[in-house]
């Protein structure tokens, strides 16, 4: 079980969190083409290594936040609040 650092609450065990998929995927406006919409909806980078992703401290403060996790080692590089830029 991972230890995840909620930017609001600090280190907590993984069971308190729910996963939210890749971070920084900008919701496409209604005006985009079908191809652009499909890319937004379905295509994710699925990076090997450093990966920006969303978590929610579901059984805690309830806040969504972003993280960079290394998908090879499972260690977090950082977590940061929604709206903040990664360090």
């Amino acid at each position: 079980m991972l230890v995840i650092s909620c930017p609001y609450c600090g280190d907590r065990p993984e069971i308190e969190f729910s996963y939210g998929g890749e971070a920084h995927v900008v919701r496409a406006p209604a005006s985009v083409t079908d191809e652009e919409w499909t890319a937004f909806l379905y295509q994710r980078s699925n990076a090997r290594g450093s990966y920006a992703e969303r978590w929610r401290h579901a059984h805690g403060c309830g806040r969504f936040f972003n993280a960079r996790r290394n998908t090879v080692t499972d260690f977090f590089e950082q977590t940061y609040k929604i709206g903040e830029a990664p360090a």
Partner: protein, 982 residues
């Protein structure tokens, strides 16, 4: 039976306490401090099991967790029976009942041993080769028979009667293993004030030193120092079985198991989930067997295990021993046994000219040593009786009678936990073994687990690990010369095809099996492992993996580091499931959600059904009514008079804030801006891919306040989705979301007389048809309780849903029930609710929809606010691929030709039931009921291009027949909606 192999002095057993036990029903005694294995050996019992595949007689090989053979079932009854325990780890207790496994009818006479005679027909991969034909024979014939004879223990026939505890813990340093290295590490870390947990599988700390009487003073001193540290948590009888990410270690602590047949009030064991800043694995090393012909007879054991039985348990494992070794350590065992009165018939050393203090001691004791020699075969059926010893490469062998053979191929560091942590192993050519290399987690290996062989080196490495784990400076390691030993099959000069030299005792894998796999083209060690099953038994190859690697290495001429090693997986030793279940059993398995009305419904004899975690009243049978009869009566009562329904499980979310309406505009398909306070609207929620995820009635309480309802099962999902958009996407909106599901009881009063029933109870509101039309909401008092009164219908009848604070739910319910008596009010359950809504063609999300239905598919296009620039799912609905699809499944009604025929939900629809299989499916039945109001069956279905097919006949193929159905509009009852106004 007397303990005739018990030594008169020495050991850590308490001779004053005699402990009776039985093995396969035979009464024996041991002493306090014994394991089951040492007590059996004290009684002269080596034969303890039959092997997995060949049913060969097998004896005790080791004195620890690595034991491959001595697997036993222990327990006083089925509720306390644990199979596959290693006798070497089972502490003896008064009255212990153990039985051997995999034998019929007895260990001595086992009919399954016929497979041993037929061994040539059971080569590696025989499952893959032999049983592929004829088709079906594997599952029907071969597998059941093979399972009956190949196996380990049996499952207990009753549920586990014991209780189990669980705990989370945090520490600065977790030290696994309390041998010399672990003790030194724990003390060094504790000196800095760090919080330390020290665990060890044994009942006493000391590790290998428990079998070293010469070190008892040092050990006593360390234990005394441990006791002086309040910051050390000591966990004896605790196995570290799993290394999980981010330094979380799973420990299984035996609490009362070792005490024997105690009450179940105290937990049997406790699962620890320890999060450690640093982990030190001081898990020791495991001696390797030597792979020689017929090396598996009872009485053939590891040299250091035999020494442990003498020194720690004061047991003589035999009378006349041959020692077979490639490592100096076995000479220490030979001297120990010699001093305990065992005749050492010969020490057979594979090495040409071994030298050193251990050999000197053996020579001084006058023990006969043969170097550059090997064992080419053994004799004896239920116990080894003799070995044949030959000089390597020579033809002549000498037969030496014996009842005990000690073997030592050297030591393999226990890197299991380090490997589980995904640390990289490094091959140490001096040791001929893998040792911990680059770690992946904050973890340090110490002592024999890191490759140390001398006591001084182990202590120094433990101390260094403890200091390093707490950020202290570390001295240079103690230099020592280590010895490797031997890997692989020993030279024996015999036809390799005609001998069986066992590598993996537990899975009955021989050196020949491995060379066969290589001859058949397998190269990867992972493939060889799976093909031969070597290392895949419950011991995970603790004693066999390195020998298997050695055979592969020699056969292929490839050095071991280039072959690599297989992955170690948790658990280190098998752990009973009860540890993992912990408290989550019976009533505590899963939370149960009950509504405020639940107790009333139970008192009325309601039959409940599970809806997610909720218990919902399904129907209220009267007398001997069947469900069908009760539901027909409830349906009729609602349509003709009035019914009372508990809708408290509906999800409820309070949405407030100046931008609440705009937030709903962006989330739901509907338009909300113009909805006036006091009005309701049926809302549909899509995912971003355009498919329906939830629905529910939404009330506008004020300009900045909405009362949103969701499906019972979708409440948490919808709130999470709303929070997601609010926090991460629509961050410009000032909105607050609050779950109010548990705060309101919801009482539905439905039927033409609903208004008459509640009117006398309503204060502060005019609920007349003129003042309160369908789809409106008013805040008022009902039965004196503040309420949000919805005029809404999920039945097609005049209806109200009364939301009151949960604590008042039952009181208001009873007041309405009382007021309704003169109107013939009837409580109804979810089954009636389903029928009534189906008669009206109202969908249930998750029943008519399956995550691939758009609003249009289920006939709800009218709900979409088409002028809105955006909402979740809007863009997806406009995708060309979706919008241009002409054969989407659409909601329709079905009427069977025979009105008495009630279709199966899930049944498929086809155009021609006579077409060949596989048929072309046109759709499926989503809901199907007997309609009391229509006096016939009705069904809803999703059918390709269904709306255009209304009026057509399709068919439901069933076994042996088919049912013709006519497609209709999904609204079966009161299509004009006239009844909504009562």
């Amino acid at each position: 039976m007397t303990q005739k192999y018990r030594l008169a002095t020495g050991g850590l057993i308490d001779r004053r306490v005699t402990v009776p036990f039985t093995f396969d029903g035979k009464a024996m005694t041991g002493h306090a401090g014994d394991t089951l294995a040492s007590a059996l050996l004290a009684n002269g019992v080596h034969l303890v099991g039959r092997s997995f595949k060949y049913h060969r007689p097998r004896g005790i090989v080791s004195a620890g967790a690595e034991e491959p053979n001595a697997l036993v079932g222990v327990g006083r009854d089925e509720g306390h029976y644990t199979p596959n325990l290693r006798a070497t780890q089972v502490e003896l207790y008064h009255g212990l009942r153990a039985e051997s496994q995999n034998r019929t009818p007895s260990l001595e006479r086992d009919v399954g041993s016929i497979t041993d005679r037929l061994w040539r027909f059971f080569p590696a991969g025989f499952y893959y080769k032999t049983f592929m034909w004829p088709k079906g024979a594997w599952t029907k014939f071969f597998e059941p028979r093979i399972r009956a004879i190949a196996g380990l223990g049996r499952s207990p026939a009753a549920p586990d009667a014991a209780r189990y505890a669980q705990i989370y813990a945090h520490c600065d340093v977790l030290v696994i293993g309390a041998g010399p290295a672990g003790l030194s590490a724990a003390l060094a870390a504790a000196e800095t004030g760090a919080r330390v947990i020290l665990c060890d599988e044994q009942p006493q700390f000391g590790g290998a030193l428990l079998a070293e009487p010469g070190q008892s003073a040092w050990l006593a001193e360390q234990r005394a120092r441990l006791a002086g540290f309040a910051n050390i948590t000591m966990l004896p009888r605790t196995i570290a079985f799993g290394y999980f990410p981010h330094n979380m270690i799973g420990l299984a602590q035996d609490l009362t198991d070792h005490q024997g047949e105690t009450s179940d009030d105290a937990p049997r064991g406790r699962l620890w989930q320890v999060r450690a800043k640093q982990v030190i694995t001081a898990t020791g090393a495991i001696e390797r067997p030597l792979v020689f012909p017929d090396n598996d007879r009872p009485g053939i054991m590891l040299a250091d295990a035999a020494r442990t039985y003498v020194e720690r348990y004061a047991v003589k494992p035999g009378n006349r021993a041959v020692v077979f070794t490639a490592h100096d350590d076995a000479y220490r065992a030979a001297v120990s046994l010699h001093e305990a009165g065992v005749t050492i018939a010969a020490i057979v050393d594979l090495r040409e000219s071994p030298e050193g203090p251990c050999l000197d001691a053996a020579r001084a004791a006058g023990l006969p040593i043969r170097t550059h020699a090997t064992i080419i075969g053994t004799e004896g059926n239920l116990r080894v009786a003799a070995v044949s010893v030959a000089t390597i490469g020579a033809a002549n062998a000498e037969r030496i009678a014996c009842d005990l053979v000690l073997m030592s191929g050297g030591f393999t560091p226990s890197v299991h936990l380090f490997s589980q942590s995904r640390g990289k192993l490094a091959f140490d050519p001096a040791l001929d073994a893998f040792i911990p290399g680059t770690p992946a987690e904050p973890t340090i290996a110490a002592g024999a687990a890191s490759g140390c062989q001398s006591l001084e080196a182990a202590i120094a490495s433990g101390r260094a690990a403890g200091l390093s784990a707490t950020g202290q400076a570390v001295a240079a390691p103690v230099a020592e010369t280590v010895a490797a030993g031997f890997l692989g099959e020993v030279p024996h000069g015999r036809d390799p095809a005609s001998v069986r030299a066992f590598v993996d005792f537990q899975n009955d894998v021989t050196a020949k099996d491995i060379t066969l796999a290589l001859a058949e083209g397998f190269r990867s060690i992972e493939h060889v492992k799976r093909y031969t099953t070597t290392g895949m038994a419950t011991d995970q190859g603790k004693t066999s993996n390195m020998n298997a690697l050695g055979i592969v290495s020699k056969s292929l001429g490839v050095p071991i580091p280039s072959i690599g090693t297989t992955t170690f997986r948790m658990p280190y030793t098998p752990i009973p499931f009860g540890y993992f279940a912990g408290y989550a059993r019976g009533d505590l398995f899963e939370p149960v959600r009950e509504t405020p009305i639940h107790a009333w419904a139970a008192e009325q004899g309601a039959v409940f059904e599970d809806v997610s975690l909720w218990k919902r009243a399904r129907y209220f049978p009267r007398g001997a009514e069947t469900m069908h009869e009760a539901v027909a009566r409830e349906c009729a009562a609602v349509r003709a008079g009035v019914g009372l329904f508990d809708a408290s499980t509906l999800g409820k979310i309070e949405i407030t804030g100046p931008d609440a309406a705009e937030f709903l505009n962006r989330m739901y398909v509907n338009a909300w801006t113009k909805l006036k306070p006091g009005r309701l609207r049926y809302g549909i929620l899509l995912r971003e891919d355009g498919f329906i995820i939830d629905d529910g009635v939404v009330g506008r309480i004020a300009d900045d306040r909405f009362h949103v309802t969701t499906t019972t099962g979708g409440a948490a999902r919808v709130l999470n989705m709303m929070e997601d958009y609010l926090q991460t996407e629509f961050t410009d909106l000032k909105v607050w979301l609050t779950s109010t599901t548990e705060q309101y009881a919801v009482i539905a009063v439905q039927g033409p007389r609903a208004r008459e029933v509640i009117a006398p109870l309503v204060e502060d509101a005019d609920i007349s048809a003129a003042a309160m039309p369908h789809m409106s909401v008013v805040e008022c008092r009902v039965a004196g309780v503040p309420a949000r009164l919805f005029r809404v219908s999920f039945t097609g009848e005049l209806g109200f849903e009364i939301n009151v604070p949960a604590d008042y739910g039952r009181a208001v319910w009873e007041a309405i029930d009382q007021a309704g008596q003169t109107h013939g009010i009837v409580p109804y359950g979810t089954e009636t609710m389903h029928v009534l809504r189906a008669e009206k063609g109202y969908i249930i999300v998750g029943q008519e929809t399956d995550g691939t239905a758009t609003p249009d598919d289920v006939g709800l296009t009218w709900a979409i606010g088409k002028a809105k620039p955006d909402f979740v799912g809007k863009r997806a609905l406009a995708r060309t691929a979706l919008a241009s699809q002409t054969d989407r499944k659409q909601l329709v009604g079905l009427l069977t030709a025979d009105p008495a025929e009630v279709l199966e939900e899930g049944a498929h629809l086809v155009a021609d039931p006579a077409q060949p299989i596989p048929m072309t499916m046109l759709g499926h039945v989503t809901s199907s009921y007997w309609s009391a109001a229509l006096n016939r069956s009705i069904a809803l279905a999703m059918v390709r291009n269904g709306r255009a097919r209304i009026g057509e006949t399709l068919h439901v193929p069933l076994p042996g027949r088919s049912v013709a159905v006519t497609l209709t509009d999904p609204v079966f009852y009161d299509p004009e909606g006239a009844r909504l106004d009562g």
